[in-house]
Structure formats: C-alpha cells, structure tokens
Symmetry: C2
Subunit: 416 residues, 2 copies
C-alpha cells in the first residue's frame, strides 16, 4: 500500500491535466481543480487494511506523499450516532447523526485544515493564510501552529469574541480588518499570487477540500461497510458537499460500495442560492444576504463551487432545502433534548432541512439517513437564560425533586 | 469475554464488601466505595481483543453488565498528541498531551457521565441529578438526554452563560439557585437519600468515577502497550486522579504492564490543599478559597477523596505541584502557540505544574511524560481582544503579508 495514490490535478471544466503541485485554478480556463487518483491501485485496498484513528487512516485516498508531512491534532473518526429518539420525532426509522463537534477545534474544518497544512509542508511553504469569521480561521491557525508554520488569519473586526480569543491564541498573526469580506477579498487574492504563502480559503484550494472527503469513508466504515440511502450535507461555499460526494463516488469506483447515497444540500433560508436554483430549474443567482443565525453557511454567492454543487444535484437527482432561523433554533433544541447532542446553529441547518423534507414526503420514512452536524454548540454566543433562581431550602428543593416520583423508577438494587 | 468483570463494591476504609448495587458510601463506616473486579478473568484479555472506539471498548473493565444499558455520545479515544515543540520549551524529550477536549461536551466529564448514566439505567432509575457550575452539569444533562432519563441539574445563578445555555438545552430541569454550593449541598444530599434519583456528583458515586479509568487504558494502548514514566493529572475533588491510578494498577495486576507511572497531582495555587499537605508532610487542611481562573479545580475541601489522593501520593511516592493563575494563562498560550492545542485554563493547570516541576529538576528531562489536558478552550469566556483593525488597502495588507518573505519558504512546485 503506497502512502498516497493521488496522481495529479484536473480541471473540472476543460479537463486539462496537471501534475501534483500547488495550483488554485486551471491555467487554461480558470476552472476549479480536483485531485485525480490511481483508482486501480486504490481498488486493491480493503477497509481492513487501513490503520490509525485520525484522518490519516485514509492517507491512500489523500494527496500527501510523504508521511513526515502528515499534520494531526486527532481530527476525524467522529461519532456516527444512531438516533432513535430524534428519528421518531422526525418520522424516520433509521437515522444517524455524524457529529463533527468532537474534532479538535469543534468543527469539520479540522479535516480540511489537516490536508491544507500538510500540503503546505509538502510543497515547501512556511506560511499559510485565510480570511475567516471564525471557524476556519481558528482551525487553520491551530493546525499551522501544530506544524510550526506561520499563519496569517484575517478576521473582520466584528467577529465573535470566543472565536477571536481562539484565533488570537493559535495564530502567528491575527489581522483584524475594518469593513466586511468584500472589502478585503480582492486585495487578498491578488497578494496571494505574489507572496510565498499557501492560501487556505474554501473556494479554490483542492488540497484543502480533499480532507473533508474522509467523512464519506468514515460513514461507510461506521455503517458496517455500506453507504446510507440519503446523506444530508450543509452547503455554504459547497466544499463539504463536493468533497463527500467525491468520497462516495470513489468508493463506488473502487468497488467498496455498489451504490451512491442521494445527496441532500441544506441551506439557511437567508442564504439559499443553491436550493432556489434547484427548485426553479434555473441558474444559480448570487444573493446579497443579511444576517442568519447559521453563520457558517451565510454565503450568498458560492461562486464556482456553488455551480459545481448544483451540477451534482442535477446530475445525481439530489435534493435541496432551506430552513428559517426559527426552524434552525428549534432543530438545535430538539437535537439536544432528544439525543443530548449540543450543536451550533450552523450544525443544525441539516437537521431542520431533513425534518422539513421528511414532513413533505420527499425523503421516505423507511430510508436510512445520515445527517451531518458540522459543529459543536460550544462555540456559540447565546442569549442570557432568563429564569428565576430559587432559594435553596429543603421545601423548594424537595418540591422540585419529587417530580422524580412520577417517572417510574424501579431501583432494583438500591440500599442494602 | 464477558461484558463486565466487575464483582462488587468494597469500602476503601474498613474493607466491607458489597454486591454490585447503587450505594454511595459504606453502611458500616461511611467510607468511600470502590469497584472490585475478577482480575483472573481480566488477565485473559489482551488489548487486541478489545472492540469499538468509544468508552465501551473497555467494557470488561467497567461495571455495566447489560450492553443494552451502554450509553454513548462517542466519548473517549481522545488523541494522545506527541508534542516535540512544547517539550523543547519545557526541557523534556518525550512529552504527550492527552487532549480530552475532543469529548462530546468538550471535557473528560463525558467519561464519567457515560458510566454514571449507564449505571442509572442498569439499576432501574429514571432520573439523575448533580450540582455543578457547568462542565459536569452539561455533560450529565447530555448523557441523560441521550439515555431518555430525566435530569435535575442544579447550577448557582452566577454560572457562566455559555455553560448555562448548554445545560438549559440538554437538561430536563435546569434549577438555578441563589447563594453558593455550600448553601445547597446539605439539603441536596439529604433529599438524594429520599427520592428515587441516581446521584451523579463527583464526591462519592463509584460508578461515575469508574468511567475515567479508561483514560489510563487508552494511554497504554496509544503508547504502543506501555505506560509513561510520569502521568500528570489535575486534582479538584480527586476523581480523575484516583480513577486513572486505579486503571494503571489494574493493568499491572493483570500483567499488561510491569510498571506504574509516577503520579503527579496538579492543583491551582488558590486551591491547593493536596499539594500543601504533601509538601508539609502534614494532614490535609480544607481551605476556604476565593476565585481561580481554573474553575474546574476550584475545590478547597476535597473531602474523603482528597485524603485518598494524598494516600496514593504518599504510598506510591508521587509528586504534587500548584500553579498561579498567571502561570496557568501562560501555559494556555504556550500550548496554543507551540502545538495548536486550545484548552481552557482548568485544562492547562497540569501543563503549568509540569513546567515548574521540570524546571525544578523534580521530573528528569529524559523521562516519558503524559500530561492530561482535561477540557477544550471553547467553553471559556475570554476578555475582549484589544487590537486595532486595519483599513484593508493593498499597501497595509501587503506590508503584513510580506513578512512571509523572511520565513524561508521554498515552494518546490508552485505554478506550472
């Protein structure tokens, strides 16, 4: 088994092939690039040959040649949780939550940071950079620190405080800037062409995207070597959706699986260009968006990757849906109360969309469904809990605890 | 291989034996109870026989009989990270951080919540309870929800907002109370004797404590079936310290390991009764403590478990140390900058104490050291980052990014 079976890059638009190198877009047509693999070689690998419990378990399917460049903080192999209580509320029989909140920085970004930073090492770079409102920035800063690389993390000055503290602690250089993303991004992109810095944004870098492919492989292994009928993925720029789809396709191509899941793209209603385009059978229309509580999917113009997602949905007969902020918050509470899973609003968009699609009959109740929950709830800023505090007297506390009497406890073995 | 090899309970003080049942203290002498196992049976198990990747991988070493009662959110199998950059700063050769921040609710409490809630199910209880300022409460609430049990979570009204939001979302009943822990605890303890509720505090429940034992087993497996020379554990009430020591001892008793690590107890200087008692060779003197930034170890009176920890330290020639709030914050930054690990202050107490003990020569530089970092940094509340935001112009951004020129990048493969 070789370390990596990646053979090079290929433009998804014009098909131009390149050797494996650092390149953000096709030199011929400016199309997006995707990694290519020796599928015949990969077909000789069986799941039982894989070793280790972090992302590098799937090294043969990833683009890093030299294992000395593997960077890890223990990302990946996140729990796939069978969720019968939530399934019952939603009206499903077989529902699993793939909970990405147990990654080192609390989100699935750690998978792409791992391959991005490892690729930076492999290609000889000593610096990384990203523009981020929080999750991607703190993840890239952490992985760059782990690798001993210098990180430039750009965050607009209104970023959430806990995320800024995280970025500030891990980044070599946290740069706060005035205005919004649009004020910086053109300048940033231009300078990324000039300086010896490995760019780690979500919109173009094929090495970064590739790390998220491992989600599909893990699901396959965790389900006992099969893929689900439906897979619900959030769509912001589209990186996670595209990467997991690539993973499911590779597993089919190398004979691990004989089918593909139906892909479901989940968006926030306030940033739903892909869902709208699919429903209207029209082109993807970029949106000027305002605030949505699901910050991590607040992308109105997903650019070329959005087009890629739309093409996948159309060709593979996928589904898409969107959820209002109220539905997202409701899904967050439901996930916590029924299964004890504490996820942030961004992570709950998929649950809200799934709920709606099952209610509409678009996803049948007997289907096996894996719903990706992309982040922990621990990164959020929440409104103050408005609840009166009790005086701790025997009477007040007893009144509360006596509710336990009606719950039907049957202590078989209490006391001697 | 049986599901569990636990045979019963035994008082650590008078030796009185009990069958496996729900019991918080010895009926004879009120001493603490510990679980007993069929060590001959366990000695027939080898690491290669273990299955699964959550805490229940170690089910034979845990007290739950019926696997239908295993509750899991994917806790355990947290990364053991080899940390050469941090080791260099500290003056060590072989340093590993056992990072518990990747547990489902971000702390090692998930291990003890898993066994506590599973034991509640096994003994026929439908309700759980705990008094907590945050981490234990949110973890127990999450695991109770996962198991379909009713949870009573008591938190004083001044608890941190993000933790309250978490508890509020997962708990069946979040009870805020006026005053502090001391105002409630006697009433609470008395009512726990009366009501059919499985009590899940850290001070007495032997089933709860047992879950943390798995940390020792994981370290053994992750180090390639050996134990380290030194193991640094935080000590608040003492649950983690005692449980991991039990784990290391069991592995020696069943022949997995031929040695025990030197145990190191780490405390905050503002709550250091165990460290003080060990240094003074005197008894453990309960302290009235004020604020320390390491909230999770802010225990001035660890009670009977504190005595237990002290006895272990004395009998096994362990070490103890304490760290000031300033040293803890410095350790937090060091861990983030050198290795990209983002941990809360409570989690960094061990790193600060380790640093001090190595500097003093109490831990030799050639030793292999595992340092437990108990929580993620994502649960903290941090001061606002005071940093001026730049105007995003080509010149200002270029000036920043040009620092990359001095870093020695050698892009072997940039551009076509």
């Amino acid at each position: 088994m070789r370390t990596s079976y990646a053979t090079g890059l290929r433009c998804i638009k014009c098909g131009q092939a390149y050797p494996k190198k650092y390149l953000l877009e096709c030199s011929v047509c400016k199309g997006l690039l995707e990694l290519q693999y020796d599928l015949e070689g990969l077909a000789r690998i069986r799941p039982c040959h894989l070793e280790g419990l972090n992302l590098w378990r799937y090294a043969p399917f990833l683009p890093i040649e030299n294992s000395a460049n593997f960077v890890s903080l223990g990302e990946g192999m996140t729990p796939l949780l069978f969720c019968p209580r939530l399934a019952e509320v939603l009206g499903l029989r077989e529902l699993y939550i793939k909970f990405e909140g147990t990654n080192p920085t609390g989100t699935l970004k750690d998978r792409s940071s791992a391959t991005a930073v490892s690729a930076a090492l492999e290609f000889g770079y000593r610096a990384t950079a990203v523009v981020s409102t929080g999750n991607a920035g703190s993840s890239l800063a952490a992985y760059s620190a782990r690798a001993g690389l210098y990180s430039f993390i750009f965050c607009y000055e209104k970023g959430a405080q806990p995320k800024m503290a995280h970025m500030g602690a891990c980044a070599s250089e946290l740069v706060l800037y005035k205005g919004g993303y649009d004020d910086l991004i053109k300048i940033y992109d231009r300078l990324m062409e000039e300086e010896p810095i490995f760019e780690c944004g979500a919109s173009r870098n094929p090495y970064k995207q590739e790390g998220k492919k491992t989600i599909a492989y893990e699901i396959y292994e965790q389900l006992g070597e099969r893929v689900p009928d439906y897979f619900i993925s959030p769509v912001a720029v589209g990186e996670t959706f595209i990467a997991t789809w690539r993973g499911f396709n590779e597993m089919k191509a190398i004979g691990w699986s004989d089918k593909l899941p139906t892909m479901v793209a989940a968006q926030a209603r306030r940033a739903n260009p892909v869902a709208l385009a699919l429903a209207s059978r029209g082109p993807l229309v970029p949106q000027r968006i305002g605030y949505t509580i699901a910050e991590g999917v607040a992308v109105g113009d997903p650019g070329k990757k959005g087009e890629w997602v739309l093409r996948i949905l159309r060709e593979a007969k996928g589904l898409a849906g969107d959820a209002s902020d109220e539905e997202i918050i409701e899904a967050q509470g439901l996930l916590a109360k029924t299964e004890g899973i504490w996820a942030g609003p961004t992570g709950c968009v998929t649950v809200a969309v799934l709920r709606d699609l099952v209610a509409k009959g678009a996803i049948p109740c007997e289907a096996s469904v894996v719903c990706l929950v992309s982040e922990t709830g621990l990164k959020g800023e929440y409104p103050r809990i408005e609840q009166e505090a009790i005086e701790p007297t025997l009477e007040t506390v007893r009144r509360i605890l006596q509710k336990a009497l009606d719950l039907g406890s049957d202590p078989k073995a209490k006391g001697p």
